[in-house]
Symmetry: C2
């Protein structure tokens, strides 16, 4: 609960949890999402399979924890890319962050598949309103919102809004507004989601190899779509 009393036992427990998730991730990168097996993890850590149930309610809960960690990893990588260009214009910083998203995804295809691919069990994972995965996703998005906020403080948005009445937009983006509040004007939210789906589409198809029938190198397409999307946010 708190970090006040790590209490030795909790320390050992945390250590084991860490090793278990580490082993799961090793199996993930070695053989893809389906290669994550409870018994293989147990072998790696030096335990028997039932022992893992003292730490995770099920295999699904374990991989959910791994996915949560991965989102944190990705967020950290993107944030590091932002820090690395701290003196750049916020909008070009966003560009570098998105590039880092692509770079990370291509370097970690198995992790990407687990995070952004099809949620295998019930096709659509039931997302509890306050589970740690949603929090990690929110923190990931927040990284972009922070930099975007810097930009719009200096250059108030004056671009074109989508052809939708404001009330409809407010209705449409209700989930976003509930989580992140009214920091940005509604058209900015629209442009951000549009940009996110575009770039996700490219990266996902590239990682999954769904573009090899068309082109040898996806980077030019990515760069063009990136500059287009950022351009829409700028003007």
């Amino acid at each position: 609960m708190t970090t006040a009393t790590p209490s030795r036992r909790e320390r050992l427990r945390a250590e084991t949890v860490f090793e278990v998730k580490e082993a799961a991730r090793r199996l993930l990168v070695a053989g893809g999402p389906t290669a994550i097996s409870l018994r293989a993890i147990a072998r790696d850590v030096g335990l028997t399979a039932p022992a893992l149930y003292r730490y995770f309610a099920s295999l699904d809960a374990l991989v959910l924890a791994v996915v949560t960690d991965l989102f944190e990893d990705l967020r950290a990588a993107v944030a590091a890319a932002a820090d690395h260009h701290a003196d750049a214009e916020p909008l070009v910083r966003v560009g570098h962050m998105v590039r880092e998203f692509r770079r990370w995804s291509l370097a970690h295809p198995a992790e990407f598949a687990l995070m952004f691919g099809s949620p295998i069990p019930g096709v659509t994972r039931i997302a509890a309103p306050c589970d740690p995965l949603s929090d990690a996703g929110a923190r990931f998005a927040e990284t972009f919102f922070t930099t975007l906020g810097e930009h719009f403080e200096r250059h108030p948005f004056a671009g074109a809004a989508p052809d939708l009445p404001e009330a409809a937009q407010r209705d449409l983006f209700a989930p976003y507004l509930d989580t992140f509040g009214e920091r940005f004007p509604l058209p900015v939210i629209y442009l951000f989601v549009a940009a996110w789906t575009r770039l996700y589409g490219i990266v996902a198809m590239e990682v999954f190899g769904h573009l090899r029938w068309a082109m040898t190198d996806v980077e030019p397409l990515f760069e063009l779509e990136l500059s287009r999307s950022v351009g829409h946010l700028a003007r």
Copy 2:
């Protein structure tokens, strides 16, 4: 090999193959991609598991055949949507085809996950140059190319090309050119792939539930991106 002599035995065999794939698809829609199990299929068809090896080399080969069929189904649905608007302008017909793609995907989330989600075994499926799956994918793409061809016959492309030298573009789209030839000017290919990744991104995120944190209804975003993408091809 040929359809000349269905030869009774081949008829029975084809019948069994059909029933097996049908059972696999039932399991798919009922419980997602992981619910497809050799023994469950065998139970459904009224056989034992080893018997299926007379028809498919492995479970992977079986689901590959199912995926191929699904691509043909999707292609047929999109083609039907095109026929349903046969008297419309080719470019608005393309719009209806893409809408049908979204509609079909939302109505068949499990199938979509199997077709467009992460290739589970090795993260990136090894695509043989001439396997039936690639053929099905090519036929799916061909459906769009046919309609686009109708348009560009009447209205030669005069839009803006991406900022790339022609030689680089020819190099970039080598896989496409090898399969589909030089039917369209290179900028059209670029715009098509860009549009495809955009719309795939939206549909995939919607089907997988990865947009619920932001918006209640994805349709406005989809329609706006669709009209934008088609607009780029028009002018």
